[in-house]
Symmetry: C2
Subunit: 213 residues, 2 copies
């Protein structure tokens, strides 16, 4: 059965998955980039960005697993970009340049309709205005039997968790304090939703935990 | 300078330092014992309970550090026992039997006065009814130049953190989900209080993080 996954999702010691005041300069909010410190040196991340080299090992294995067998992604609009409200025009094409690292259909949750956007390398952004269930239905269909990854941000992950639609979550807990920002799990009773921790592995950069139903 | 420390404080992935429904059977609340799974096998813990053997290594080093140079402890009343409201009598003498593992003066925060309780092995429980600052003043004086450890529970740690009275926090984050219980850090902005993560070490059982001012 195809699964709905959250993967490589960073969280600080104090439970935040993004810092406050997200902006063009701080896509993950102030301080939020520190949550991804574990992934930047990995071979998977470097290859994704057209660079050679990179570290192998625990962090790299988790980064790679997050891309394995993914047939479609779902992103919240803030994860797609900093534009708020109606799209002023079609000039914003994502944070990732002309060849985004997805290479499959990506469904972007938004309240504002927009034509699909075909990028290089197999990524097409589709803009979904009728809610998280519709986006998941479309993503599952597009995935053609492969898994669907909920890419974030935190609010989108929370919505899918609370709706009981997620099968697996891989969190990378960094030794970071953010103090403010978007709390990932507050008010969400994961055991009541059927989750338990099925795997935990630590690297010098992060504690990786896998939560499954 | 003597320091005020929180040490060996367990926290779940979802940020809880105790489960719900604390009782005589579940001193750390339902499921809360899992937060301390890292400490039970250690040599320090076993010695503390009169047993030989036990594991050395990262977990044991942190457990031992938590007892080094401590001249006095502060505990919230719930950490001292399950009795609520006025003391019906003096029969409750703590969770730990006649020789508690403190071996120094221990100041218990309570709204209900009670005579000090001298136990075997150097532990004396003093009951403080005039608040966290008074308890800390008394503990510092009793510690005679050594450090003061805030033993918990979560609410007591939160109060001392929010009052800016803690210098150092060692958290042991376990790969546990509690779903409900006492959140340790929610609503507390540790960076704003001057904390940063100064050390993080992982064992197979826990991610140890040290937060210092």
């Amino acid at each position: 059965m195809p699964r709905v996954k959250v993967a490589s999702f960073g969280m600080s010691i104090d439970g935040f998955s993004a810092g406050p005041r997200q902006s063009l300069d701080d896509p993950l909010g102030v301080g939020g980039t520190s949550l991804m410190g574990w992934v930047f040196p990995t071979r998977t991340f470097k290859q994704m960005h057209g660079e050679g080299g990179g570290e192998t090992g625990i962090d790299d294995e988790f980064a790679a697993r997050g891309f394995a067998n993914i047939g479609a992604w779902i992103l919240g609009r803030n994860m797609f970009g900093p534009v708020r409200g109606p799209w002023p025009d079609d000039s914003w094409r994502g944070w990732w340049g002309e060849e985004p690292p997805y290479h499959v259909p990506v469904f972007v949750l938004t309240h504002h309709a927009r034509d699909s956007l075909e990028m290089q390398g197999g990524t097409t952004f589709h803009f979904v205005t009728d809610g998280i269930h519709a986006a998941l239905d479309a993503a599952k269909q597009a995935a053609g039997g492969r898994d669907v990854r909920i890419g974030g941000g935190a609010d989108t992950v929370r919505q899918y968790l609370q709706a009981g639609l997620v099968d697996e979550v891989h969190l990378a807990v960094s030794s970071t304090l953010l103090g403010q920002g978007e709390s990932l799990l507050s008010g969400i009773d994961l055991p009541a939703l059927g989750f338990k921790c099925t795997e935990h592995v630590t690297s010098p950069h992060a504690m990786h935990v896998v939560l499954c139903k």
